[in-house]
């Protein structure tokens, strides 16, 4: 490590003001910080700080995604690894270019977006679409708004939404039957032959035709669907980790799932023939993944606790409505994006009410 530190110190001047390579300063800083912590210290009180910083915050999410990533490898094969690589490369390029233009540091937030994105895509989607989607999401969804912390919408969902609207055929037909047995599809590069994707409609699509897949399959995940969304157990494992480390807000998760269960339950109770059972709906599609990993994105959700409750209720109920009453089979993406839109308004209302109360106190 000492040697490496020397190398970094030796080449540092060329990245500083006036150096030849100063354009690449963000890249250098990112590498430097990946190996060594910066030397800055606290300036004002409090003089000690909580160990959790943004880098660690984002790292927690990536760690929490591990069960889902492993499940995706198992069910959908090695092609998923390539999707992750493409996603990181394309989105990372946009991020790095913007950091260089803005002369800012590269943000860790991208590590999460780049990992989330392939997990919410159909497993045999053409790779160029993966790259285009993530680049669009990062560029339009995040950078144009001013970068990390200023985006209104979840970048990964913006990318997915764009693909769903631009290439609806591919996005609704690139499914793949999951691997089974001891090794699953671990040693296959699936998706090469078109045969795979023919007989593999997602549970929600089949439910529109009145066919319900067994709850056990839905829970374990050997069903068709987006790469990381099929296995409820893997999502819950990672999600519980996020809640325990308090990186994700339990209020958001609880209100999404709670309102979803209530509304879906009411529908099922009223007309069991038309609307699927609650537990089944809970495990189907991207609901769990969205609730634990997408809606809890701190940047795009409200900052007030009260706001988080309402935000979750909106997402949960809109998902039920889209799933059951529109032509779309799945509505989590749209529901969360809708939640993102109202998040700042919810904050304004909550803060406004609080201030009015203070003012009335005198």
């Amino acid at each position: 490590m000492k040697g490496l530190l020397k190398v970094f110190e030796a080449i540092r001047p060329s990245f500083e003001q006036g150096g030849k390579l100063r354009v690449f300063k963000p890249v250098f800083e990112a590498l430097d910080e990946a190996f060594f912590a910066p030397s800055a210290t606290t300036v004002t009180a409090p003089h000690v700080r909580d160990p959790l910083d943004v880098k660690r915050f984002m790292a927690m999410v990536v760690i929490a995604l591990f069960p889902c990533v492993l499940a995706a490898f198992y069910f959908f094969g090695l092609r998923f690894a390539v999707m992750i690589l493409v996603s990181y490369a394309a989105g990372g390029a946009v991020e790095v270019v913007f950091a260089m233009v803005r002369k800012e540091n590269i943000n860790e937030g991208f590590l999460v977006t780049g990992m989330l994105f392939p997990l919410i895509l159909p497993p045999t989607l053409p790779l160029w679409m993966v790259g285009l989607g993530v680049a669009f999401g990062v560029f339009i969804g995040k950078e144009l708004f001013g970068g990390t912390g200023r985006n209104v919408f979840n970048p990964a969902l913006v990318g997915r939404c764009f693909l769903a609207l631009a290439y609806p055929a591919k996005m609704s037909a690139s499914w793949l039957g999951p691997g089974n047995g001891l090794t699953g599809r671990l040693f296959e590069y699936a998706g090469a032959s078109a045969v795979d994707s023919l007989s593999s409609a997602t549970p929600l699509a089949m439910a529109k035709q009145g066919q319900f897949i067994g709850l056990r399959e839905m829970f374990l995940g050997n069903i068709s669907g987006s790469a990381g969304e099929t296995s409820a157990i893997a999502i819950i494992l990672g999600g519980v980790f996020l809640l325990l480390t308090r990186v994700a807000s339990w209020r958001t998760v609880a209100s999404i799932l709670g309102s979803f269960v209530l509304l879906a339950g009411a529908l099922h109770y009223a007309q069991p023939g038309t609307f699927g059972p609650v537990l089944w709906h809970l495990c189907a599609g991207g609901l769990l993944f969205g609730a634990f990993f997408m809606a809890t994105d701190p940047v795009t959700s409200p900052i007030t606790n009260t706001g988080k409750w309402f935000y979750g209720i909106i997402i949960g109920s809109v998902t039920v409505l889209i799933r059951n009453f529109t032509g779309y089979v799945e509505g989590v993406t749209f529901a969360i994006l809708l939640g993102n839109i109202v998040a700042p308004i919810l904050d304004e209302i909550v803060v406004g009410v609080r201030i009015r109360r203070l003012r009335s106190e005198g």
Binding site: A37, P46, N107, V351, G362
Partner: protein, 457 residues
């Protein structure tokens, strides 16, 4: 430390920084360093600064009043040693910068001796009238010793417009590292109880609650026993409160114990409450019974790099550097010297800075604790995680206030109630983006005060 107590009382928000009290909590109060020279700052309290009463070259006695002021919100200062006035000049002050002080050359260089005075249980405060107590407290120059330094006389004197009913004695000591109040509660229990009774008599409060955090079971035990043993102690309760920072904040303590909220921007007497620190009550007893002014106090010197961390009885006016030197050689590893605890304390640049009546601790932090090694201390963009809102004990919106100040929108900051902030530092403590939230808020408050001409430029 076998007693396990569970505090029931708590408040909304707050954080749990590592307590680090183990470094000094077992060390009993010892005599501090012998002083050659003391510098008594003329402004050691909130309110008007004192005028010096002595001139250069004058001989002073130990306990002699050397600075006073006619303003109501003020407290006189006294010399802790007998000696000669070397100069009336400028010395560093943690908040005010260079500030006038009386520098006294001690006649003999001796360690301060703690007067051995212990009150027994049947201490009767009845022989002192309320006026007598208030006058003695003022003459002794007693101010809040928990950190703020508000003149105690102003607090305890009965005010017909805001009658006080409940008195809370603050033994929380929620800041990490600090243990001086804890040791006071163990070693000066009787004196504290006597002071509590005197303060009760002076203020006319009918109910007294001594609140101690549940990480100090020995103190809770000692105080309860002393209260039980004392005559007329039946309306004094000792309660355990949850260990959480900032439990010792006046407003938080009232919320926790009484479930009442002090109006935003208001003060405790508005709801009939008086809050006193335990060390202050001990000083009251000393002032009233022994007519001894506040010239010495217990200071905790702590930190991983301090060779002999502990609680020292020192003369007010002793230089911070001398006290640190007394606790072992100051090594290269110490990166930051903080007057007070690490959460709300002030980092100081001048080791010649004198100890004041309100300085309860000197905390020495290493580079590892304040930056490098473990964590990046680089400010990044706000990720809107909402942690600062969750921990804010005042239920404010710290990030919005900070951003308003950053963009120079002071009106907006004011509309978010920037002045209700108690500067406890919880928001900066939790911020994953390392934004100096509290720092911005403090700056904003100063700007606002200047705008309204309440503070000199």
């Amino acid at each position: 430390m076998e007693v396990r107590v569970k505090g029931r009382f708590s408040f909304r928000g707050g954080v749990h920084p590592p307590e680090k009290k183990g470094l000094s909590c077992e060390s009993s109060i010892q005599a501090g360093p012998a002083v050659k020279e003391v510098a008594i700052l003329l402004s050691q309290h909130i309110g008007a600064a004192c005028r010096p009463l002595v001139e250069k070259g004058a001989e002073v006695q130990a306990g002699q009043k050397i600075g006073d002021c006619d303003a109501f919100v003020s407290a006189p200062v006294h010399s802790p040693v007998a000696g000669k006035v070397k100069e009336v000049g400028l010395r560093s002050h943690a908040v005010l910068g260079r500030s006038p002080a009386v520098v006294i050359q001690a006649e003999v260089e001796a360690q301060p001796t703690r007067p051995s005075w212990e009150v027994n249980g049947d201490f009767d405060e009845g022989k002192y009238s309320s006026e007598q107590i208030c006058e003695a407290v003022r003459e002794a120059g007693i101010v809040g010793m928990g950190g703020a330094g508000f003149p105690t006389r102003v607090k305890i004197e009965p005010n017909p417009r805001m009658p006080k009913e409940t008195m809370i004695i603050n033994g929380c000591e929620c800041e990490p590292y600090i243990t001086c109040d804890y040791r006071m509660m163990l070693e000066r229990t009787g004196q504290i109880v006597a002071g509590v009774k005197l303060a009760r008599r002076a203020s006319g409060c009918s109910r007294v609650i001594i609140a101690i955090e549940d990480n100090k079971p020995a103190a809770i035990e000692a105080m309860s026993a002393a209260v039980r043993a004392s005559a007329k102690g039946d309306n004094i309760e000792v309660v355990a409160v949850k260990t959480k920072y900032p439990q010792g904040g006046e407003r938080q303590l009232i919320e926790a114990v009484l479930k009442k909220n002090v109006p935003t921007g208001g003060i405790p007497p508005m709801i009939g409450v008086l809050v006193l620190n335990v060390a202050t009550t001990a000083a009251i007893a000393d002032a009233v019974v022994n007519k001894r002014p506040l010239t010495h106090r217990v200071v905790t010197v702590s930190g991983e790099v301090i060779a002999r961390p502990g609680n020292y009885y020192v003369a007010i006016g002793t230089a911070v550097g001398d006290l640190m030197e007394f606790c072992g050689p100051v090594t290269q590893k110490s990166a930051k010297v903080v007057l007070g605890g690490p959460m709300m304390g002030l980092a100081i640049a001048d080791l010649q800075m004198p100890i004041t009546k309100a300085s309860g601790a000197i905390t020495v932090l290493t580079k590892g604790q304040i930056g490098r090694a473990k964590f990046a201390r680089r400010q990044t963009a706000c990720i809107r995680c909402g942690r600062c809102l969750e921990v804010c004990p005042e239920n404010l919106n710290p990030t919005r206030i900070a951003h308003a100040v950053k963009s120079n929108l002071l009106d907006l900051a004011e509309s978010y109630y920037i002045n209700a902030c108690t500067e406890c530092g919880c928001c900066s403590y939790v911020c994953p983006a390392n934004i100096e939230v509290t720092g911005y808020i403090k700056t904003g408050k100063i700007f606002l005060a200047r705008q309204k001409k309440k503070m000199p430029q």
